[in-house]
């Protein structure tokens, strides 16, 4: 495949394409036109063609897209055509919610372990995954070739744990703590800040009140 610089905006839309294509595959659809995909996804057909053209010639004029091929290629681009080992640090409700979400495995994200500092949680098993003491973190990462750590702990502990993860060679942190982490350039941080999401919701609700949905302004 030709290498092009792909904009952040396009990349941010790929997981959604991947989800729709996965659902089409599951319901046995083999080919889909940009128009049909447009109707389902509520994105213009021209946006779909522009986005997918970034990856070079998936579409065949008059035949539509080959769903399986497109799904596979987008999977490769997203790096989910291989297995990634993941741990969850913080085994409270949020950590357990993630551990219980079997769909991550279908995408190649394998949850190898869970960690906590609470002695009442250590030793429990969630969907076959044992909760361990955070003391064992570094050794576990090395032994299990862990690439990704989900941080579902309070922000007061997040910075310290992130430093330990980086030293232990983690490659990516999926950060649910409400704090921005400082990590070297070779470590990825993907934030899920729930309170910020709720504020965006609030903003959009209030904009509607004022008779202007600013969501469209770009």
């Amino acid at each position: 495949m030709e290498e092009k610089v792909i904009s952040k905006a396009v990349i941010s839309r790929l997981p959604r394409y991947y989800r729709y294509l996965g659902e089409l595959l599951e319901s046995g659809v083999e080919r889909i036109s940009s128009n049909e995909l447009s109707t389902r996804m509520k994105v213009t057909a021209s946006q779909i063609r522009q986005d997918l053209n970034n990856f070079g010639g998936f579409g065949q004029q008059g035949y539509g897209y080959n769903v399986k091929y497109l799904y596979t290629e987008i999977g490769k681009i997203l790096g989910i055509d291989r297995q990634h080992n993941l741990i969850i640090i913080g085994s409270g409700n949020l950590g357990q919610a993630i551990a219980n979400y079997a769909n991550f495995e279908k995408r190649g994200f394998l949850i190898k372990g869970m960690f906590d500092i609470n002695p009442r949680l250590i030793g429990l098993v969630v969907r076959g995954i044992e909760i361990r003491s955070v003391d064992d973190l570094e050794q576990f990462i090395v032994d299990n070739q862990v690439e990704i750590a989900a941080l579902t702990i309070p922000k007061s502990k997040a910075t310290e744990i992130a430093d330990r993860l980086v030293k232990a060679g983690i490659r990516a942190i999926w950060n649910f703590a409400h704090v921005d982490l400082n990590v070297p350039d070779n470590v990825v941080v993907e934030n899920v800040h729930l309170s910020e999401s709720l504020m965006r919701l609030s903003y959009r609700m209030c904009s509607l009140d004022k008779g202007k949905d600013l969501d469209e302004a770009d």
Copy 2:
């Protein structure tokens, strides 16, 4: 305040400003320059000035920003200067994680009730909030002037529940189910699609492998 069309990009950054300003307030800082804020937030000072200028003259040359004033004004813009009543539909781990997050209340989001279809959960109390049967949903929304519903249920049920919420007069859905909801224009949907977030993380990790962090391409 003058009314301007504010870009989606600026809006998406406001919750982060709000978080930093809140932390500054808590640590007793009264004034901050765009340069200091720039160092803390790792955003250029010129971006900060541009963003905040959208809201008209918070900054005073040579004096920096009044933290309290800026915090309050951004809070008004985000619509979190008033109380919003919220319910959680789906009282599993994710629903309980949200119920346990006291910070939402500090932002004016009051969790009035939780719902589930599982008889073993109905009647339980999470941080003072009773879990009710989903049968009581519509009446509860009216009786408690509920504006926002967090949907933490499997995608198979999400569409049906969303329809009921809309009919019952809900104004916004905070959607954690991995499905896109169809709602009228006067209802806001804010999605938190965790598997999409994890795919973005994977993409960025793989881009680093290829020696090009595409995260910067915009």
